[in-house]
């Protein structure tokens, strides 16, 4: 496959840098700094040190025997991103960006957050490196995700309540961008997924690609071969891209990105940008978007707050278009059943986001032969969702 993106951040027709002029110089500066770090062995060593010593990498590739046996099909491995410090893959990226920001001499971090996982991961690295930190979060999400709000505050971050628009993740990102426009000189915007203007999608993908690199090494050691299938949930797409990227040129590895179908694709309540959206431009890049016929962006919905975003990373749009990855959907109901299934079978409570990937594996595995191998990216732990599950009486 051709190296993506091009120099302006385009993955095929997707991606790019659709940003306000005020931000353009900052984005270009960021890109330059990032390129320098990519080539700098010291930076890479530093990054690896923090991943290993601070976040606890490598995360295990765990053979889920009880899950596999009860589905009577493929062997299922779980890539345990839930074991990272702060409880999800998000820290892989925030560590990378924070180290980059420190190199660039920035003293302040901002970030948007929906579920609060990225907010916590950002507040965490801000504390770790002694930076000021503001986290933008929709009023509605602040209410839904109180425990993560507490965590951010304890870590010293200011949680900025966003009331504009629909007061959820999309608006938090709008507000973060507005704030960034006003503070771009000393502030580093830590975007939480493979979205945003170039170079974010590429940079986040690269920081997250440790997931796939480790997986490859681990499965080679365990099974002596590539997995047959990779499955990951897709919100903005960072855990999925981190899982897929290493395997992109391995023709024998089928990949499935799982979007949130919420109450169903036939309803307006879902977050399936690829399966239920159209190409458009938002938050600095061109990609699939949930939008009405007039190009107004629609609210996303999913029981998993971290999937509740109306766009998707541009590289995913590209992988969809080139058919490298198959994008499928899972409803709230299926995700909740998978959440419970994994908890009961393996003693691992998955994040509701990750439960979407589990749910899809539950559909696929029984149709596959026993010698086939599925790897699921278990992007995060579900402690944060216990309340939601109990409240909705979903069990």
């Amino acid at each position: 496959m051709k190296t993506q993106p091009d120099q302006y951040g385009h993955f095929g027709i997707f991606g790019g840098r659709y940003a306000a002029e005020t931000l353009m110089p900052a984005l270009i500066e960021l890109e330059k700094a990032y390129r320098a770090c990519q080539k700098d062995k010291t930076f890479q060593k530093e990054f690896e040190w923090y991943q290993r010593e601070y976040s606890g990498r490598p995360t295990p590739l765990y053979y889920a025997s009880r899950m596999s046996e009860s589905l009577r099909g493929a062997k299922i491995y779980l890539k345990r991103e839930d074991l990272n410090h702060t409880g999800s893959h998000k820290i892989n990226n925030t560590l990378g960006q924070a180290l980059l920001a420190r190199r660039m001499g920035k003293k302040k971090f901002i970030a948007e957050t929906g579920a609060g996982q990225h907010g916590v991961a950002t507040a965490t690295v801000a504390a770790l490196f002694g930076m000021e930190c503001k986290i933008f979060m929709g009023e509605e999400d602040i209410r839904r995700q109180a425990p993560n709000v507490f965590r951010m505050k304890i870590l010293g971050a200011e949680v900025v309540l966003v009331k504009s628009g629909t007061a959820t993740l999309k608006d938090a990102m709008n507000e973060a961008m507005r704030y960034w426009v006003s503070s771009v000189r000393d502030t580093f915007y830590i975007i939480g997924t493979t979205a945003g203007p170039h170079p974010y999608p590429q940079m986040v993908r690269n920081f997250q690609s440790v997931i796939g690199r480790e997986t490859k090494k681990q499965i080679m050691k365990l099974e002596g071969r590539n997995p047959d299938v990779l499955i990951a949930c897709v919100g903005g797409g960072s855990n999925a891209m981190g899982t897929f990227y290493t395997f992109r040129d391995e023709k024998n590895v089928a990949m499935y990105g799982v979007e949130a179908a919420g109450h169903g694709l036939h309803t307006p309540e879902h977050s399936a940008s690829i399966n239920g959206g159209k190409v458009g431009v938002l938050h600095g890049n061109k990609t699939y978007l949930l939008q009405d016929e007039h190009g107004q962006v629609r609210d996303a919905y999913s029981i998993a707050a971290g999937l509740d975003y109306p766009g998707v990373g541009p590289e995913h749009a590209y992988f969809h278009e080139t058919k490298r990855v198959k994008y499928v959907t899972i409803t709230d109901k299926e995700a909740v059943a998978a959440f419970s299934f994994l908890s009961l079978k393996e003693g691992i409570i998955p994040a509701l986001e990750s439960a979407h990937a589990i749910a899809y594996a539950m559909k696929m595995a029984p149709k596959m032969a026993r010698n086939k191998i599925i790897v699921i990216c278990l992007s995060g732990r579900g402690d944060k969702d216990a309340q939601t599950i109990i409240e909705t009486n979903a069990l």
Binding site: A20, E21, L23, S164, G165, R178, V181, G280, Q296
Partner: protein, 264 residues
């Protein structure tokens, strides 16, 4: 040359500076917007920036954000805005720039947009999230039909980049007077002056200054070195405050002509 170029030439002849006014189309409704446009023209406004509302206006402050939401609630679409321009053109020759974000245009279809906008009588477009690097996909169509592509210059824009942007710009250059979103901070006149003078050195195009200007005093000072001044949030606020007042058009016109006075 189109209406925008003509207008600046005429103003130059009379040693006036351009008053450019922004208002969000459809706030509170397209019919009121039409009345406001005609009233503003009479009040001495030189160029109109008509905001096409978008769900996610990331470069706008609270006032224009809320105006966009009200406009969307009242059912405003890009199609409706283009119809509005067609209507206005029946009775007015005031230069009109459509101001907005790329997605509504992209959803409408860029080629179709250029075609219909020209027919409606649109003179320029200013797309906040379509910087130099990404502008081509729209400009291959708008340039072709003679719609000006108004480029933004920010306080953060460096010399090299400025030169590239200016080289490709048409209509006028829009200098953003603050590092920030619309209508939030008061601009620092000295800094603006330095930058505008820099811009002047590399382009013959008129330079207008906007974001955060609301008072005649600010307008007067900026007009000393710029070719035009953009008033946005201040007008949007006034419209919202008086939307139920029968004298809405009169009030807005009064405010605007007060500014225009200092630009003559």
């Amino acid at each position: 040359m189109g209406r925008i170029g003509d207008k600046f030439e005429a103003l130059c002849g009379s040693k006036e500076k351009a008053l450019i006014v922004y208002l969000t189309a459809g706030d509170p409704s397209l019919s009121v917007t039409k009345k406001l446009i005609l009233g503003l023209e009479k009040a001495g406004v030189d160029i109109l920036e008509i905001g096409v509302p978008f769900s996610d206006p990331t470069a706008d402050g609270p006032l224009i954000q809320m105006a966009s939401q009200r406009a969307l609630k009242s059912g405003t679409t890009l199609e409706g805005v283009l119809d509005l321009v067609t209507e206005v053109r029946k009775v007015s020759e005031i230069p009109i720039v459509l101001f907005g974000y790329f997605n509504p245009i992209f959803a409408y279809g860029v080629k179709k947009f250029a075609h219909i906008a020209r027919k409606a009588g649109v003179d320029g477009v200013l797309v906040v999230d379509l910087p130099y690097e990404e502008a081509k996909e729209l400009r291959i169509y708008t340039d072709a039909v003679g719609i000006d592509f108004i480029s933004l210059i920010a306080p953060t824009t460096g010399s090299e980049r400025l030169t590239k942007i200016a080289a490709d710009a048409t209509g006028f250059l829009y200098y953003i007077s603050i590092t920030g979103i619309t209508g939030t901070a008061a601009p620092k006149i000295d800094n603006i002056k330095t930058k505008v003078n820099k811009i002047r050195k590399i382009t013959k195009l008129p330079v207008a200054v906007g974001f955060g200007i609301s008072k005649p005093q600010q307008a007067r000072e900026i007009a000393r070195f710029a070719d035009g001044v953009v008033i946005g949030s201040a007008v949007v606020r006034l419209i919202d405050e008086n939307k139920n007042n029968r004298d809405l058009v009169k009030i807005i016109s009064g405010y605007v002509s007060g500014i225009k006075k200092v630009l003559r």
